[in-house]
Subunit: 333 residues, 2 copies
């Protein structure tokens, strides 16, 4: 299995190499701007719409970058991963594009739509019981039995450098719009997206600060950055941001985070719902709760925009109808 | 006033010239594709996301193309237009970008949000009573008194060739994705968008058919194309597609429509709501009712996708919370 190899610390050049692999595969999602929102904030807010990415989140980038570096022999044995959400869909679709077999271990109580979407990409689905079973044990057992390669959701150089390609695009698209960015922020669960983007942004624009956004109570990275060592969340569930519940930073991602990220940004569920409503009203985008935390930080001033130019990643749009309606209800038109 | 001049029939070269004027002003909105939707339809459906355009609709393209061809002297006297919706916002924002004064005549009962959005671009708003007043009379009077130039919503070469730039992008972006388009469809009210796109598409890809979509009961263009002469709708209101209620094709647009468009596509309000729900679920886009008619035609098979490659324009996203919630209610996740 590839995941048992040792790897050098990922670099800016690795993100550039990932961009070449993803050319024509990942959508170059637009960097949107809105005159009214800018006037309201007194600065320039640029929104990277990764919710428009294939499979509805940035996860395709890392998964495809990973699969495309496996050997022909490894590809023939397939890939296995576990996820109830965006990584499942991204990995399944990346495998379909690479004409590879993928097995995804998903909780039996995962939303039917997410299971159906993952299956629609041709992946085999193995359901497990959240209470009785360990998905890691099931997935590792499948890998051992079949020779399939485990594709982790974030804590791997090939994953995070794939996610980082969104950061290259942000700086390039900002430059095309004549903007030099003061700061970039992205949602964070295990840190694959935020550290990948930091590698990319710091490589192209060293003076730009990069920040990770997290939901209140699940701010393990913010606490870890403040403490200088890995901290763990007290809770395992209880935020509307279902995509951002990783308990602690990754072993590969945290050293990068310590070196490259500014202070963490922490937002409440209500602030996230307000950000989703604004994305609907002003940007015409469907953003899921976990995808909206960086936007929420900018709108609340936790990430200052006044007198500055700031880019935020809206990282996914896989939200159910009821949750989206709840966000719309925060403001009647 | 520019609108009293006579103009040659607009050509493909005029659309190309408009694209140069709009470079760096209009967003090159993405052409999205979804593997699940393609599998469902048995073909390739490409979705041009003009709801992501500045001001939330394609209308900025035509308005900016118009204003940028006025003389310096005319620009100094400003622009005037009437609209309760997307043209108001597009014209107001185009005037702001050109550092021009704009006056928009809007109904006193227009949604507060649309009035506020138009005012936020710096336009002067003149409210009128839908029952007692004529907006044309009010607008024409303002133009006569102030020397301002009337900017019509669709029936002018500078407007329709500006809208046509979306068509150039569609063909270019499809080619970048390796796709030769069998058909392109766009929503239609007075025909500015659909005829502009037809000029562009036929110029780049003569074998591609181009179609205009309309709501049932407001299918004046479809009827006019079938009859070979201008027909008028019986009703003036009563569709969820508030942006598509023009009573009859324009004098400039109809000859182009007769020459360039295939048969019209007519969809029901329920089909439009279903298309909005699919755009939410699969494309993560907020599309307004009038913006979703071409997508609805593709999803219902009125515009066949099976075994073909078809692009549809989702032309706007300026929808209120209640109407969007109604669309979400068509399918619980």
């Amino acid at each position: 299995m590839s995941s048992s190899r040792s790897f050098a610390t990922p670099t800016f050049a690795d993100v550039q190499a990932a961009a070449l692999r993803l050319h024509g595969v990942a959508l170059r999602t637009p960097l949107l701007e809105n005159a009214r929102v800018n006037a309201m904030l007194g600065g320039r807010l640029l929104l990277k719409a990764e919710c428009l990415q294939r499979t509805g989140s940035f996860k395709l980038r890392g998964a495809y970058n990973f699969l495309s570096q496996m050997s022909t022999e490894e590809r023939g044995r397939g890939a296995v991963g576990w996820s109830s959400g965006n990584h499942a869909q991204g990995l399944a679709e990346a495998a379909r594009l690479m004409k590879m077999k993928a097995t995804i271990v998903m909780p039996a109580d995962a939303p039917a739509l997410k299971v159906a979407n993952t299956r629609a990409s041709g992946a085999d689905i193995v359901l497990y019981d959240r209470v009785k079973d360990s998905r890691e044990t099931i997935g590792t057992d499948i890998a051992r039995r079949t020779g399939a390669t485990i594709v982790p959701p974030y804590d791997h150089p090939w994953i995070l450098t794939g996610q980082g390609t969104a950061g290259l695009e942000i700086v390039e698209q900002a430059r095309e719009a004549g903007v030099t960015l003061d700061a970039v922020a992205a949602p964070c669960s295990g840190g694959g997206l935020s550290t990948g983007i930091a590698l990319a942004v710091k490589g192209l624009s060293p003076a730009t600060s990069v920040h990770a956004g997290e939901p209140a109570g699940f701010d393990d990275l913010a606490c870890s950055l403040a403490a200088g060592s890995k901290q763990t969340n007290d809770k395992l569930s209880g935020s509307i941001c279902d995509a951002l519940l990783a308990p602690t930073p990754g072993d590969v991602t945290f050293p990068l985070a310590l070196r490259l990220l500014g202070p963490g940004l922490v937002v409440s569920d209500d602030e996230v719902l307000d950000a989703m409503e604004l994305a609907f009203r002003e940007f015409k985008l469907v953003v899921e709760p976990g995808g909206a935390v960086a936007l929420a930080a900018a709108l609340t001033g936790k990430l200052p925009v006044k007198g500055r130019a700031v880019a935020v990643v809206c990282s996914g749009g896989n939200v159910d109808h009821a949750t989206f309606s709840r966000a719309l209800g925060r403001r009647a038109a």
